[in-house]
Symmetry: C2
Subunit: 345 residues, 2 copies
Amino acid sequence: PKIVTLPGDGIGPEVTAAAVQVLREVAPDLQFEEHAIGGGAYEAHGDPFPQRTRDALADADAVLLGTVGGAQNSPWNSLPRPLRPESGLLALRKALGCYANLRPVRVQPGLEHLSPLKPELARGVDILIVRELLGGVYFDGDRKLDGDTAYNTMRYTTPEVERVAKMAFWAAEQRKGRVTSVDKANVLEVSELWRRDVQALRDREYRSIHLNHEYVDSVAMLIVSDPSRYDVIVTENLFGDILSDLAAVIPGSLGLMPSASLGDGAGLFEPIHGSAPDIAGKGVANPAAAIMSAAMLLRHGLKRSDAANSIERAVALALREEPTRDLGGKADTKTFTNAVLEAMG
Amino acid sequence: PKIVTLPGDGIGPEVTAAAVQVLREVAPDLQFEEHAIGGGAYEAHGDPFPQRTRDALADADAVLLGTVGGAQNSPWNSLPRPLRPESGLLALRKALGCYANLRPVRVQPGLEHLSPLKPELARGVDILIVRELLGGVYFDGDRKLDGDTAYNTMRYTTPEVERVAKMAFWAAEQRKGRVTSVDKANVLEVSELWRRDVQALRDREYRSIHLNHEYVDSVAMLIVSDPSRYDVIVTENLFGDILSDLAAVIPGSLGLMPSASLGDGAGLFEPIHGSAPDIAGKGVANPAAAIMSAAMLLRHGLKRSDAANSIERAVALALREEPTRDLGGKADTKTFTNAVLEAMG
Ligand SMILES: CC(C)[C@H](C(=O)O)[C@@H](O)C(=O)O
Ligand SMILES: CC(C)[C@H](C(=O)O)[C@@H](O)C(=O)O
């Protein structure tokens, strides 16, 4: 199988290299092909998503992404919107047709103390957030900034809602069978459609799933005050952007959070943390999220669950034995990666 | 001065009565006039915001609102959208021209243990969230649900951005002088306008304010993992809905959170908690948020800061001496209200 790696900006190259090292160990048959994306791609090719990168995706079996973007005050942020690093990321999602972003939020046993929440609230949290990734206000073409007025359009169609809801129901079948669909149906017509279609699909095809609907403002509260009530959360693009980042703080370190974006073609696997330009190139970044994203690549992209499990077990062990600096430990990128490799035996 | 009270649904009447009792004590010259809103108004008059209520606002100096809406499974939620309780609330905001919703989030000294956050994170939190309340995706007329597609429009104009930003800068001048403006300018044109206009206003008229801009997903994280970094947060309607509810969990009880909605005319003052139909009519609701909303009414609506301060001090005392059930104490609505009245001397 062919894996396209897109190391990207900041610490992206370091954590991606670590993930590739682990992948080579458990799946020696993988072929890797590296390409440019983000700010670096703009510097080198004048485009944050160059044609050569786009072409390479055609026969890829999965894509492993590092991180994209510069510091808050990076000159990249003042480029015209289509040239900014984020535009490369959005174009990549679109090119791959990845309409469902899966973000597991799990508090590892023994690491509850890292959470900003009280340990009794953090303990045992195990949520899967399924975010719609190709629709809504992100991609709708009806958008404009013109003088002293501007607008964007939050639009969804039934097929867009159904395909991501299917993904959520499918995932829930392998978990506790409970799905919470999040919207703002008390105010938005687009949410009314969302709620109607998610419910209809459940009633038609997923009768064993327990589905409920909650408002986004209420979920923002409850995810913090009572996170254990959730199993699978499914929501539209913008709400998902906010809620998945919010939920990601519960385990206490973004350095622990992987993600998978799935669609009809090759999946996209990436850590959710940013490019951390302040520590880039120093060899101290925590590669756990990238390595766990590689595990998701094996599980969802290549259907190799055994290899995925073995990586995840090894990461859990390494986190206890060689915690990185962001976790209050001492390990640098290399030490941690070696601990993972060793734990895999 | 004439105060219009709108007790509303659920526990609204109980907590509003408590707040009125306290107001009568500190401001015997106030005239109260009670009117219908929400689900109850729909039942009685076929309209969640009846004409008679609308008329009463014309010469009001301030409006004290209880709570609006029914249980999750209330038949009110299946009414056509314009007849639902929430529509009454939105129509009320619009009628009053309240474009800025102010929500103070303060962790009371000694009550840190109520927070879902670790006490060391909760301690000393003192944020003011200023939410734009009349624009964006909430009120824009370009909206439709039609067969298998639906959309809403997130629109802002420069005057709408400037008037709420002014309110935030004004509030910050009386606090630590720091404003964080929240948007999604890396994706949305409407956020680009927002960011540009907030910054331009600061540069033109509020040079002493320290202004920074953050993305909504990042703020959702940081409000939980590092709440003390914020002084005043200003944001558009939908982001404000989510972030203000999120921030409201930090003090540990929604029963403690007041709000003020200000504009060019009479202000609207209301607790942020819901109508809690499960405990309605039992006399056990915590009226602290309604009473603190009455304090905000005195401060912002009638410019009577001394009376406002005396209520707030009394509430803080009563919370320690006669905590209500939601706070792990025993006091019911009456006991708590009496404790406030006593503490005011
Ligand atoms: C960088 C940005 C465009 C992106 C998004 O909003 O989708 C990011 O926040 C994310 O969640 O991956
Ligand atoms: C009830 C609903 C329409 C309302 C809103 O979204 O504004 C509520 O959530 C609030 O924040 O006051």
